[in-house]
């Protein structure tokens, strides 16, 4: 049976671990995210849907 302190520590580690996991998920591997246009360069040659025939 773990002591109170050990249990508190255990909970703390779990909470921090889960928080870290979610932060990594949100900010991590960019291949899994749709890029925002904030730091991208708009292309020079394209047509928008409203310009497309049909």
């Amino acid at each position: 049976m773990p002591s109170k302190i050990t249990r508190r520590r255990f909970v703390k580690i779990c909470v921090l671990g889960m928080a870290g996991f979610f932060i990594a998920k949100l900010t991590g591997d960019p291949t899994q995210r749709t890029p925002g246009s904030g730091n991208l360069k708009e292309a020079s040659f394209y047509r928008r849907a409203d310009d497309l025939a049909g």
Partner: protein, 324 residues
Amino acid sequence: MNKVECTLCPRHCKLAEGQRGDCRVRTNVGGKLFSLVYGKPCAVNTDPIEKKPLYHLLPGSSAFSIATAGCNLHCLYCQNWEISQSQPENARSTPMSPEEVVSKALANRCRTIAYTYSEPIVFYEYTYDTSKLAKDKGLLNALVTAGYIEQEPLKQLCAVTDAASVTIKGMTEDFYQKMSKGTLKPVLDCVTTMKKMGVWVEIINLVIPTWNDSDEDILALVRWIKNYCGVDTPLHFSRFWPMYQLTNLPPTPESTLNRAWDIAKKEGLRFVYMGNLPTHHGNNTLCPSCGKLAIERRGYEILQDHAPNGKCKYCNFQLAGVWK
């Protein structure tokens, strides 16, 4: 809705929100098309200009060379497939603005910026903005490209481009379809437009055993160059080396390249070169007027230059090219 159609290259990818083009580096965000690789080169080097290969553009000088991920062709033999066929996220890149590219080129005493390794057409905006700045600073701009581009963007780019080494991979639509998942006509149109717009053009042809190494294949290419570009347009036959998805073939035998060289010379092309055969005499430039050795090369190295500023010192004949 929110679809866009990219009109940069002949593929005309129609992209729904979040989708990427065939090149992997242009994407639809909120009904607008964006480049994912602007200012994000994944390869940056200082190379001899002979490596591009551009043998008639300031021989012996250095070219500051940049590339990003992506390509709009998918050649089975691609030598740089690790970057050309990758997503930008998977190719490690260093942020570098057009201003930084130009200042690094000047700091490295380069006289040219080469947009190379992968395909400058797919990083069009980066190429164009950098080229404009480079021109203002007195640098030359050279494209190393497969020429798979639409005419309107090409013409805009030609206005800031001094030279191009364009690969004509084969002379049939069937070849382009099977080897590169592309088409031939836009490439030929690209070369003729570049010539018309005053860009110095050198043609590359990778000779691949069983694919494009027959006399007919070579003759078709040589005659097209002669008729549409002129006999002063350098042609580089390059030796194939088994790579990527074409490892089942042997390297091109030297005898095949010699045969190609003979055909091109016989048809009257003045400057025919051999690529990937560093010690071959086909790396040298001979004066078309007196026939003497004008520039002797070994690989990318100039051993002797008897044509300072492109003028043959034996007969004063001015060789075609960009020499100053």
